[in-house]
Symmetry: D2
Subunit: 440 residues, 4 copies
């Protein structure tokens, strides 16, 4: 985990202190259930909560014990016994380590998801706000990096909103996949522990029960979880790449907020770089890289092997921490994005109205021309405008219109009024309301 | 796509003939909607269905045209015009190529998913049947490849059933993600095409509408789709690895069906190898490898670039075809799996009852012994049995019992009856019904 | 393998006909060695060459036999026997299937690499030619997509040349890794086959011998091979992304060659899209996706399992075929790239000389100013020019110079002559020769 | 980076303190070169070494400055100035941040590689020692997890040795790829910095010069580097999987060393689990997951973007630290591996000599039998033995021999002496010397 890309709220979920606290709670709830079943004395269960609930576990000490016994849960239980005294022997009865470890991971991933949902919501809110602000801010749509036809900046953002809303739904789904509890004992047969213990702990920890565990919770759940994060990370990259493009010098239709005192480059004082969104592109790769190992973790040997564990010690915290950071960074970028509507307009207009080429194609077709020849008619004019733009940097206002008006073959098919009417940009935006109504 | 790992039903979905048929249907449904809106004559729409609906498209000819015009959809439309005649100019009005291509991909992926669901159901049925057949077939559960405690072979299969049931639910979800239609024209603004056309085509093709497309359907949908396939592939690998383990010479608790006339090895006539499940392990890797590129496809430039296309030409057919094949191969393996219950029992028994070690640990703890010293008491006897097993290949019946009975420290805490009662294997299986009730 | 992205020379390496021809050669060379060792009659070895060497193997028939015996090598040997007659029993003596399969894969990968090297060389030649052509074509260097300082288009291409030269060296290395022969029999112990057979076949097939095979050639070799392809694919993507950027409307400093009759968009006749380089971006992902499964193939069970095989049936042909295609497509793009030097110059100049900001920073520092305050002095002028550029699309010639000249604080430190001298673009290019000398 | 899987020697390479020390050295060596060229005063260069060389940089303070200026190198330079005073203005002249950052990363990766080579050598030494120790320890070779023919445990280890020797060679290669210095200024044109500075710094830091940098060192180098680590990680997994198999209860031919006081399971006192090698399987996935993002980093925008940076902040330390740890863990496992030669022998013998089936096949062929019918003759006897083994757990000594002797069809072709001679296990091992001579 890279501290630079971490928020405290999320890293705390993954701290040793939090982990031991969850371990304790699972054990103590388990004792309650065991006491209820008459397996251990009720007084012991109470004592465990009383003495353990207020205990400050000493992480360093647990580490030290672990180095000796080479087993983390046993190390913790040994430490716990120091607080609880003799009743400690009732703790963990019929449990196996995985009951604790896997259920704890579920709790951590569920809590992490709750935080991620906060981040998603912040992104969604920012996208909605800016989308509505720029609902009618006309800008050229680009396919293949080439000017195509107009759209609005608000529509771009609405599109991202819809994408993040899908991501949010997937995250809710992923939380459901992962928020499960398994207290089923060795090999998952409940031989030494009543299924009622699992039910009780699950309820108290806010989890569903795992229908069939095999000492561990099946790893297809985790694979699906990390895959969901990977898709969201890819959506973050999608927005990031858009902004990076908009900020590039020749486009400059929007810029990341650049604060006073900020330096874009140690060497070149004129620079303002889209470093936040470039960073998001990188963070997306980091989150995505957890997906394949999480899938490789699914096929464990027989009832379980522990090869998944080291992987999850890495990707568990790393993916959630970095995605959480990325979501808030992205939200900040969107909230503060400096947008230049005039630049959007002027960039579009430098092509002299060329973005209406399809309208002519359609009009000529409807005027009875075959598609092929209509295409040639429009293309021969369009390419001239394109060359004017390329050589002069600006085709000039009305460039396409003027060429069309002087093309006898076109004018034989269309009236001047028809032609002039085709340079109304509002035409392209007439369904913006429709689109917004579908999203918001 | 590797033909050897392909079923005809699935490859046909990806054939050129199927593709062009879907292209035609989308265009023709589009014409109906345009006619209804009064954009084109109703007679034209009818004519298009009449002449195009019965047309046998010539794939080679379309390829030839494409080599000239370097555009696949234009090549198709040119070919289509040969059938339809003059009315061909009304086809594709206001459409952009992506409207056709992306919606077609949606149809193909949705149909592919329907086939995959058939495969999943066959796997689920096979797992359920064999699980119930072996509900009480006792076998040792293994963690870390080491004998742990008994379970049943049916429980193993029930666990896989639950895993595939989750995979099925994800697949249904993935189908929903992907079954969307976009007929929104260049840049997705509906400038030259009424949203009603999209609605009509979507309904006719059995798809939902894409709320905001940007000429293309957003690729987070496809990323989520291929990720879902990747997780299922990993679950296939999970079952495959289990069977490969069970068939290895020293275990030999189950075998893939080996037909008459089959040869395990060209060189060694004694061999029967688990080649089907090894093959499934490999196929899982093939399906999984599509996940990351599908995620890399999400961040396209501005409204769209076409970098995703070549990737999807590969992974679209390959992942669905290979997963489909793998599901049916897996189902066949499970249906025909030769299971050796006596071998399961005898393998377990070779450790002389050692699988009851935890019960002693718990009994000693409940008899008042501290966990630590109870552990040592059991471990010292257990390790002796283990050595007997290791050196002699079989610890012998009652090995663990006899050692316990002659351990004074243990016997000071437990009565002989208590000790003897701990070698009842049914103890371990008492919750098999509970588990089955959760799954089936 | 996607036929659309395949060249015949490469696909032929992977055809069934080629495969069986290589199988035959390995077997026949093996027979020669066995005959030399006196294991089989020399007449048999001669007969095998005579009758098998001219045989036209019937792929469909072999497939049919395989469906029965479920073993590809046995199916081939059965078919081969039809040509050779009784002496067929001397074929494959002491061999195991993997001896044939793995050595064949080595031959195919080695030949594929030879073709890839041809492609690399074509790319290198094209890069060198165009680099030298544009050695002095000034263009703005961009970091973070933002104008930084001038470089030349030739330097960009020289950089790519150096990168591909490294890729070529890695490919030569990868060929060495993979061009190995194993004829070591079951489990690789040479129990039934003399190591001299391996030596003979290796020499005849142009391979090195595998020091220790375990029935199969160790898969770390293949993993390293596919990783080398993956890095080259990433370098292809690197060049592709550069060209896609240069072609985007607002930049338009270079364009993929656009032939007569070509259509950029079925809907918008004005469009010329960088579809080849976008395609290369996608192909890069396809080639790269083989890397992880190839690594997953390394850890096989004991002496071998066959899980790697299905993976390699996919990635073997796919990765080499697509990379081969991509290299030639890239070479074509570079060879035919339409470069607009004036556009490069005018794009640069639209920022009014701002690219010299660092020179001022350095000059002020050398004039005794602290770095911090020098930075502020330059930045305050630079940002004004930047705003002029942003709002007007062109800061105007001399914009930065004029501002500097009227900044009293700067002029207190530098003379007017010093200031004016800092707008000489040749300053930035003075080491182009140095760089070229390092590369070519 | 997961501390639990980290060795101090490696983590120190990635500490902030080390990083700043390297930054300082690069800057100071650069000043020496600049002074030599007469760009800055020699006294300044000396002063910088004097005051900076002994400085204890305050990491927290640099962090604090960075939070304000949002630029890490500027933050460091500001802090450095506190030590150096006025001469600080001569530091970093003509440098750009990437000159420092990228060259530092090269130094760190080169040093990390040196440590990895130590780890590789420890593994190689352990493998060689144990291979020679067990050169003649007979064990069954297994393909598909099924008994095939005998080999020796030493041959297994020799194979791994050869694999790691290849990995070592790749690592040396990877070090060469990565050990490069770039001090080429903004955009890599040397406009403001003489190439002699780069040469000087490179030499002093033990690096080669980068022929063409573009402000940054091209990322194909890093991609190749991380790919090399990924292949080595896969080889680690390969050995780990072998050992995990050998330790599984039914095989138990070798075990990880299990120390006094160690607990295999908190619940089941009888367990000794191969947790170290399972852990290595997981660590392999962690190292491997860096490969794809490192490849995604290659295609940066124009001369550079900074998306690679966050990725490398993660994978740079993580991959080298975890691989380093894994190598030492693996070496320890091999050094201390408890091997059971008698168990290897008895496991093999439980199949009653079946591992000689191929010898019979060959003998029958050489006795004139057609391959097909020879195969059937052997297989029918072999399968009987197999069933005896399966049902009784042990086919019994001489089981295969006895069946063959009573098979009239076989005995019609072979003499009893011939048959009996085929049960000499030394036959299988006669080329062990050959194999060892190829490796050691």
């Amino acid at each position: 985990m890279i501290e630079r890309y971490a928020r405290k709220e999320m890293t705390e979920i993954w701290s040793a202190a939090t982990k031991y606290r969850i371990w304790f709670e699972i054990e103590a709830h388990g004792c309650d259930a065991l006491a209820e079943l008459g397996v251990i004395p009720k007084s012991a269960a109470k004592n465990i909560w009383d003495k353990g609930g207020s205990a400050e576990f000493d992480v360093a000490k647990i580490d030290e014990i672990e180095r000796e016994v080479k087993h983390d849960v046993i190390a913790f239980l040994t430490h716990l016994a120091e607080f609880i005294g003799e009743d400690a022997r009732f703790v963990h009865q019929g449990f196996t380590s995985s009951d604790i470890l896997d259920t704890t991971l579920s709790v951590q991933l569920a809590r992490a998801t709750d935080l991620l949902l906060v981040g998603m919501d912040r992104v969604l809110t920012a996208l909605e706000k800016r989308a509505k602000e720029h609902k009618h801010t006309i800008t050229i749509g680009r396919s293949h990096g080439i000017h195509a036809e107009p759209t609005t900046f608000g529509v771009k953002l609405a599109r991202f909103h819809a994408e993040f809303a899908r991501g949010r739904a997937r995250l809710v789904q992923a939380r459901e996949e992962i928020a499960v509890c398994a207290i089923s004992g060795a090999i998952g047969t409940f031989a030494n522990i009543d299924p009622k213990v699992e039910e009780h702990v699950a309820e108290k920890m806010g989890l569903a029960i795992e229908p069939v565990s095999s000492q561990i919770i099946p790893r297809d759940r985790h694979a699906a979880f990390f895959a969901a994060l990977g898709v969201i990370a890819s959506s973050i990259e999608n927005v990031a790449v858009e902004i990076r493009h908009l900020q590039r010098t020749e486009v400059l239709e929007a810029e990341e907020f650049f604060s006073k005192g900020q330096k874009g480059s140690s060497a070149m004082p004129h620079k303002r770089n889209p470093v936040l969104t470039e960073n998001l592109s990188g963070l997306a790769r980091l989150v995505r890289m957890a997906v394949v190992p999480a899938m490789e973790n699914v096929a464990l040997w027989h009832e379980r092997d522990i090869s998944h564990s080291s992987v999850e010690r890495g990707i568990g915290p790393d993916s959630t921490v970095h995605l959480d950071f990325a979501l808030h960074r992205l939200a900040g970028v969107i909230e503060n994005l400096v947008v230049y509507p005039e630049k959007m307009k002027s960039n579009m207009d430098r092509l002299g109205g060329l973005h209406n080429s399809q309208r002519f194609l359609l009009a000529l077709t409807q005027a009875g021309e075959q598609r092929e020849s209509a295409y040639r008619l429009v293309q021969r004019n369009a390419m001239k405008v394109w060359e004017m733009f390329r050589t002069q940097g600006n085709a000039g206002e009305g460039a396409f219109l003027n060429l069309i008006l002087s093309d006898q073959d076109v004018m034989a098919l269309l009236s001047e009024d028809q032609v002039r009417a085709m340079f109304d940009d509002e035409y392209h935006l007439k369904h913006v309301d429709t689109i917004f109504a579908r999203v918001f």
